[in-house]
């Protein structure tokens, strides 16, 4: 038990990281499909697109609740510091998710102007939810001001707002759009699928550009200097720089950008060869690699740059109690989630709607 106590914060860090990753690659595709609805005005196409995600979006979004709830339970200090620090983007995310979530049902009940309104709510709710999540990510990675004496956030209202966090916001929008396009490749056929095939490589190129920018920018984040007037020798002494570029770390971490290049190549090729399932999987792999890079950057903090996993950890008994639940119930959840994807497998077509 004492052995376990020492490892609990690591285990929980891994559980939450996994939960957030699952959220990203699942809700990512349905938010992405939501955005792409903007470009298909045809009611039949929109019907198929929404059809393809309708049975899944609610379950996908539940991972976001698990992420928030898990953080609250396992690292209450981190939760209580991060949430006020990112107040504005989180409220933006919640409001966007509200609009988009209800639009699924509402757009079919409304007519004329009402239908147009909920269509817009669906598209823009998806875009802004993704953007806000990216901004939250950026605001988190660039660091949050923490006051140890009061155990609380001690920065300003707009601390999260920076060119870097905006860049992250836009990057996530494109990332989710790519997941959405790959989902459409998998779930549709005919003209709509052709369109998704044509769109996916373009989005991928933009997303890769953002990944490169993100990667080049990150080492400079904690050096406290504006990007354009840096003194490289000072940057080179920050912990973040050390983490990535010192030996032997670089030999362990250097494979991440290489793998990104390889997976990106495979993804371009899979799209060109009109494979149907591989593009989505390769995109998920790209997200995973970016995510591992992020984890290395944040390590061992749960709130960069000051709060470590161990400092923020809940009482071992709290972490242990919920861990039992995770160990017992998560496999069951994954089981019936997989079952749902199996029940609603295959192509969604114009004439296979639910009215038949």
């Amino acid at each position: 038990m004492e052995m376990l106590e020492a490892y609990l914060p690591w285990i929980w860090g891994a559980v939450i990281a996994t939960g957030v990753f699952v959220y990203v690659i699942l809700d990512g595709f349905d938010l992405g499909v939501g955005m792409l609805c903007k470009f298909r005005k045809n009611e039949a196409d929109r019907g198929v697109m929404i059809n393809s995600i309708a049975p899944f979006w609610d379950g996908n979004e539940t991972w976001l609740v698990l992420g928030g709830g898990g953080l609250f339970a396992a690292f209450p200090l981190a939760y209580s510091v991060v949430m006020p620090a990112l107040y504005i983007p989180i409220i933006l995310m919640l409001v966007s998710l509200i609009f988009r979530g209800v639009a699924f049902e509402f757009r079919f009940k409304a007519e004329g102007k009402g239908r147009e309104f909920w269509d817009k709510a669906f598209v823009f709710g998806s875009v802004f939810a993704a953007f806000a999540q990216g901004v939250v990510l950026g605001g988190f990675v660039q660091g949050i001001t923490y006051d140890e004496a009061t155990r609380s956030f001690a920065g300003g209202t707009l601390d999260w707002l920076s060119p870097f966090s905006i860049l992250c916001g836009i990057a996530v929008v494109f990332g989710y759009a790519l997941l959405g396009a790959c989902w459409l490749i998998m779930k549709t056929e005919g003209e709509l699928q052709d369109w998704a095939y044509g769109l996916a490589p373009k989005i991928l190129t933009v997303m890769l550009a953002f990944m490169v920018m993100f990667t080049l920018w990150t080492p400079f984040l904690h050096s406290g200097m504006p990007l354009l007037s840096i003194h490289l020798d000072e940057v080179m002494h920050t912990a973040l720089w050390e983490r990535w570029f010192s030996t032997p770390n670089i030999f362990f971490l250097g494979w991440i950008p290489v793998l990104v290049a390889v997976v990106a190549f495979l993804l371009y090729r899979a799209i060109a060869r009109r494979q149907e399932i591989a593009p989505y999987l390769y995109t998920a792999a790209l997200f995973l690699l970016g995510y591992i890079g992020l984890a290395v950057t944040a390590w061992p903090n749960i709130v960069p740059p000051d709060i470590t996993l161990h400092e923020a950890a809940a009482h071992p008994s709290s972490q242990f109690l919920l861990l039992i639940g995770v160990v017992v119930l998560l496999p069951v959840i994954l089981g019936y989630t997989g079952f749902i994807y199996w029940v609603f497998r295959g192509k969604v077509t114009h004439d296979a709607g639910y009215s038949h």
């Binding site: 309708a54 609250f72 339970a73 209580s80 919640l94 509200i98 049902e105 155990r151 029940v343």
Partner: protein, 464 residues
């Protein structure tokens, strides 16, 4: 202009949670009602049950969606606006909320997909199983969230260190003193809320002389349930009140607007409590009844508000008035149940009459009673966020007031649009009524392209 972030955060939380609770208190009962209908359909093969099921499923889909999105807000608001609270009690109630997500949210979200869109994808048994899973999910969810809330009312099984609560005994935390009573009282309240909506819709169709077979099912089941559950609710409320008297005496004193600790406390039917002068104006009361209810003796002594320092008393007026609204509606509910029995005995239950108009008018009664009841529970807990342990005012996030003012304004506008629309669409579905086999979607020219929204669930003839 200076905004008080604590007050605004309180208003924002009260606003968002009050809106949120409307939907779960409806869908908890609705899920079980749907399970009942589907089970009756499977047993009898009577297509009326299936048509009634499909009708309520469409309404369930909308209400459930609104419950989900307004619920996600709650999961984050603890952190955004009440970071002191999150840090101080996260060790204790965090795992309870975690278990809610693990045992309930995934179950509901996943099997809802089969309920809504799985008609021609899975067999009838698996479909019924899915409905049951959603119903169980709503109950699991109630269990955990009410356990967490009850712990804030009657904290147990913990110790304090440097202003942070740590768990000592999980059984005592989860089954804290008020948890069983609150769970029983709230789940019954949710079931009653749904019953009155079902009753109102059925009665509405009788008045219009439409959808009579389905309306009979609604009226019949709802009235039997109300007849049994409404009196039980009075009983469970009484137990809940006695529990509060033991653990939260200031709350009970505020509910009764009882200022002095004394025997022979009357039951106040109406009064205007005055917290400044510490007395009531225009009091109309029944002698000794409060003493009798709370102590089971006419001269039993009941603790009064003056026993508590002014800064430790809840806002009396809110608690006092809301309690009367809740109890008053509860009495009306019992009356409706008895009237239903009377009309049944007379054999005129299905003949349109003033009783059906009363049933329609009682449609929203459950919602009002639930919100009033929660106001009693939560305002009655003030000024504590965790009773006698943490004060609400010390637990807010270090946010500038302007931020909270803006977010509150946004929530009010967004909720007005979203929930206004949702309620409108639900009313539209009710007006349209259950779809029977001979009026299937094939007459709808757009049916072929319709995505699989719940409102387009096929009627039986289409699924083949």
């Amino acid at each position: 202009m200076e905004f008080d972030p604590v007050l605004l955060s309180r208003i924002q939380f009260a606003f968002t949670v009050s809106f949120h609770i409307i939907f779960p208190s409806f869908t908890i009962g609705l899920a079980s009602w749907l399970a009942m209908l589907e089970w009756r359909y499977m047993r009898t093969g009577n297509v009326v049950f299936k048509e009634t099921y499909q009708f309520w499923l469409k309404i369930f889909a909308i209400a459930f969606g609104m419950g989900v999105v307004s619920g996600i807000v709650m999961a984050y608001e603890f952190g955004t606006n009440w970071s002191g609270f999150s840090d101080a009690v996260g060790n204790v109630i965090g795992p309870l909320l975690g278990y809610e997500a693990l045992t309930a949210f995934f179950l509901e979200a996943t099997f809802l997909a089969i309920m809504l869109f799985g008609w021609d994808k899975v067999g009838p048994r698996l479909h019924f199983f899915s409905t049951l899973m959603v119903a169980f999910g709503t109950l699991f969810s109630s269990f955990w969230i009410l356990s967490a809330n009850s712990w804030m009312q009657t904290p147990a099984g913990f110790y304090l260190e440097n202003g942070i609560a740590y768990p000592e005994n999980w059984i005592e935390i989860i089954f804290n003193p008020s948890a069983p009573y609150r769970l029983l009282h709230m789940v019954t309240a949710a079931y009653l809320t749904t019953s009155f909506v079902v009753l109102a819709v059925g009665a509405f169709y009788f008045l219009r002389q439409r959808h009579i077979p389905q309306a009979k099912v609604m009226l019949n089941y709802a009235l039997w349930f109300i007849l049994i559950a409404a009196p039980l609710q009075l009983f469970s409320g009484d137990m809940h009140g006695l529990n509060a008297l033991e653990h939260q005496p200031a709350k009970v004193a505020a509910m009764e607007a009882n200022w002095e600790t004394q025997g022979n406390v009357p039951l106040i039917l109406f009064a205007i409590p005055d917290p400044e002068e510490e007395k009531n104006h225009y009091q109309l009361s029944i002698p000794n009844l409060t003493s009798l209810i709370l102590t089971h003796h006419a001269d039993g002594e009941v603790v009064g508000l003056k026993d508590f320092a002014k800064e430790d008393r809840p806002p009396v007026k809110w608690v006092f008035y809301c309690f009367r609204i809740m109890v008053g509606l509860g009495m009306l509910m019992i009356l409706v149940g008895l009237l239903g029995l009377y009309f049944r005995w007379r054999g005129t239950l299905f003949t349109p009459s003033w009783f059906h108009r009363l049933c329609v008018a009682m449609g929203p009664s459950g919602f009002i009673a639930v919100i009033s009841g929660w106001f009693v529970a939560e305002i009655g807990r003030q000024p504590w966020v965790v009773y006698n342990v943490f004060r609400t005012e010390d637990m807010a996030s270090p946010l500038p007031g302007a931020n909270v003012a803006i977010s509150l304004a946004i929530f009010i506008i967004v909720y007005a649009i979203v929930f206004g629309s949702g309620v409108t669409y639900i009313f539209r579905l009710i007006k349209k009524g259950p779809q029977t086999g001979d009026t299937d979607g094939s007459h709808d020219p757009s049916a072929g392209h319709h995505p699989m929204m719940a409102a387009d669930i096929p009627s039986p003839s289409e699924t083949k």
